[in-house]
Symmetry: C2
Subunit: 479 residues, 2 copies
């Protein structure tokens, strides 16, 4: 068995804990030889595959089709949308040599694909009958980041980017909000990660969008994680790439576009929402390992007997679409428990000679302290029920944490004290002025994560400048 270096406790050093959990669960490792890049190892990639399958099903159910656009984008394309090029220029990787020769026009490695897709939309869209155009792409993208953290911010990451074109702003806004709902539903019901749906401030919106919407989760250190974004692009890219269509009335108009994306960053959010000082905790819907069965034995006869029962039970559980490992290695049971807790197996089953006598097994869920003894006869049903229960419990626990960490703040001192102390979301009034927002960021590193969509209108005073305000926004430190 490989040596198991300890996991730093969350309370001691949260960023260290995060790295330790990734290493202990063998999810990924920094590439080192390529600046800011990482390798996603099989245990981590298995989570991404499940995320992909769940999301892809939802995208198709809402009428989208997958396509694939080039990795390279002519540098001139980015310059066609002024805000877009300003936002992405500092983060670009540039190909200058191809086939041994200096290129006449340099290519950037896509940081996002609005421009190249805009170029093709202009070729594909002629009339209102070509609309809506509903495309999604699963791809890698590159953004040169100075400070990287595995999964959360890497120079290359995997993501999906939806790109759609519509005949009216009403339709494109509806699409933008629909996909935000798809993300929120996925985050809560698959990742068990509660999120706030909201609008970004103009300072924080996507470079080139009219308005950006987001889902924000709260991590266990009180920081916010932007887990997905959906952008109302208006006619900005339509105008930049001349994407016009003939309306029913025969007029020529620019299309209204959206784009929306989530990435391997979600895996970082998953880790920081659920895991503990013993390692990874993963909701059953995304877990790489559902059940580990450890046969307990002191001699070969016991080994044969317990392992046989373990294998039978494993087969029954696999038939229910659970991923099951029978860990019959020559190791102390305690060392196996320790390893599978680190790796985030949702549950552990122990089967020893005494369990065989009683025709039962010991069952322990990864997220609970107690160990139960379960009759073998109803064993499969019990495990399945506990998988469902765990999925629900993780969401409830995370929601309680998030709700407890969200505090109404009516004074600057109060907000500052929260942010310098436990963190979390500070719900406070803001005047709507970007300069005021920028000052807050400069002084405290705290940003406005979003203006929640379900915000009640409420008279108040900006927590920073005192000017009148109509609604509260969420402040937080963020990744």
């Amino acid at each position: 068995m490989a040596e198991q270096s300890p996991i730093t406790p969350r309370a001691k050093d949260f960023p260290e804990w995060y790295q330790d959990v990734i290493r202990a669960a063998d999810l990924a490792e920094p590439a080192h030889v390529i600046k800011g890049a990482m390798v996603i190892k099989p245990n981590g990639y298995a989570i991404w595959e499940k995320i992909q399958r769940e999301l892809d099903t939802r995208f198709k159910a809402t009428g989208h089709r997958n396509a694939y656009f080039p990795l390279f984008i002519p540098e001139s394309f980015l310059k066609k949308e002024a805000e877009h090029v300003e936002g992405f220029s500092p983060e670009l990787a540039v190909v200058t040599i191809g086939g041994g020769k200096e290129l006449e026009e340099r290519y950037v490695v896509r940081p996002t694909s609005e421009t190249i897709i805009g170029h093709f939309f202009a070729k594909w869209i002629q009339t209102h009958r070509d609309l809506p155009m509903l495309i999604n792409q699963w791809a890698n993208v590159v953004r040169w980041e100075m400070r990287t953290r595995m999964f959360l911010r890497t120079s290359e990451f995997l993501w999906q980017e939806g790109h759609t074109a519509h005949a009216t702003h009403e339709e494109s806004l509806k699409e933008t909000l629909q996909m935000l709902d798809v993300y929120a539903d996925f985050a809560e019901n698959v990742m068990a990660m509660p999120v706030v749906k909201g609008r970004k401030t103009l300072n924080e919106k996507f470079a080139g969008a009219v308005m950006s919407y987001c889902i924000e989760g709260m991590m266990q250190n009180g920081w916010a994680l932007q887990a997905g974004t959906s952008h109302d692009l208006g006619q900005n890219f339509g105008k930049a790439f001349d994407v016009k269509f003939q309306t029913v009335e025969g007029k020529s108009e620019y299309v209204w576009q959206t784009s929306w994306g989530v990435s391997t960053r979600l895996i970082g959010g998953l880790i920081m929402t659920h895991s503990d000082d013993a390692g990874l905790i993963c909701p059953p819907k995304l877990a790489t390992y559902h059940v580990v069965i450890v046969p307990i034995f002191k001699n070969d006869a016991e080994r044969a007997a317990t392992t046989e029962v373990a294998r039978r039970l494993a087969a029954d559980l696999k038939a229910k679409d659970l991923t099951v490992v029978v860990d019959d290695r020559d190791e102390r049971p305690g060392a196996k428990y320790f390893e599978w807790e680190r790796k985030g197996a949702c549950a552990r089953i122990e089967i020893g000679p005494k369990d065989l006598e009683k025709n039962s097994f010991a069952f322990k869920r990864r997220d609970l302290e107690k160990k139960e003894f379960v009759p073998m006869s109803g064993g499969v049903a019990h495990v399945l029920a506990q998988m469902d229960a765990m999925q629900g419990d993780l969401l409830r626990r995370a929601r309680a944490f998030r709700d407890a960490g969200t505090k109404r703040q009516d004074t600057w001192d109060g907000l500052k004290a929260q942010m310098e102390g436990p963190g979390g979301f500070g719900s406070a009034h803001w005047c709507g002025d970007g300069k005021c927002e920028a000052q807050v960021k400069e002084e405290t590193k705290v940003t406005i994560r979003c203006i929640p969509l379900d915000n009640p209108q409420e008279a108040g005073a900006c927590v920073r400048c005192g000017r009148p305000s109509q609604e509260r926004v969420l402040f937080a430190r963020s990744y």
Copy 2:
């Protein structure tokens, strides 16, 4: 309905026909603005998704797990394996600028990942207990190609690359041949494309491999298509990247590696194996559209009646996992038939007022001329049976074509005449000398596609130089 430009007949201009089929079925288009790149459109990407699902299931069933390695590779890595760098250098895209600055070490965009994966294998593999290591990656790769053809040869393409490490050469060779079998099984039983399994000559092997194995299909113009390769890498990359492990006996040895891949090129092979002058023909296991139902009507009452029955039948077929479109657009039925033939729908169903009276429908398979009238009562079963029959018929038809196009040639003149005439595979003796092989290529553009694995040993004389030979090889023009 969009204007439908004609498809060039195969007999007139095969390469034109190929491009026309891709355009008519809306599978892809050249990117133009990025040298040699293409956009895979939704109809084409849907085929790729089905290919991925089928292969991924087979890879996992043989014990492989997916992972993801960086897109960028330090330029120095390629130079560690002498043959490898020589083979790939002319095809590289190089990133020299990142985040606005000239890079200290330039990165190449991966043309294949043996080197970067070798680097990580060296970190992950310590002892025999870490072996075998069985990894697969689904990814994009870039190879700067001078002459590109959609799907067959593009500067960027999508593929999977398996990379495995083993303790002995016996095991790694077994893996190499196992994956070749997986590819051959997939080609024949999913793509309905018969292939010859064989070894490459040393001139044609992968740069860095000890031996390359391949599957070769025969296209309708008589050219060969290398559809998949599986490489015995020996210890070449193990030595280049110092991937050592401790054996059971405690000795330190280099691992034995394999790599194997198939790409979006398969879609080109699919097209050129089955399609005809009317457009795409696709085996049901990979088809984007299984059944198109066209209601026939002359007035609103007929329209309502036929469309209702069409929708009910469509629902029943969809419940059997078929992809079904009810095409009730305001167009002439003939124009719809024409369009769906071009797009490769496996079958067409027509439902008119007379069919309603008889409680039946008209059914036409894309690959057959005849139209049948099928009672509605057994309609779903008939369609399902015909999908199976079509899958089998396409394979049989392609196999008959391939067998008829494979000719034993015992003289140089005979081989030349075949290659200058109908093409196909020329099965002929070869002395085994790479110089002789190179001369043939220079004079005729014909290459040795493979040395078939099931080759009988047979005394003969090299078709080019007359020296003695023990077995026949397959000569062909190729993509």
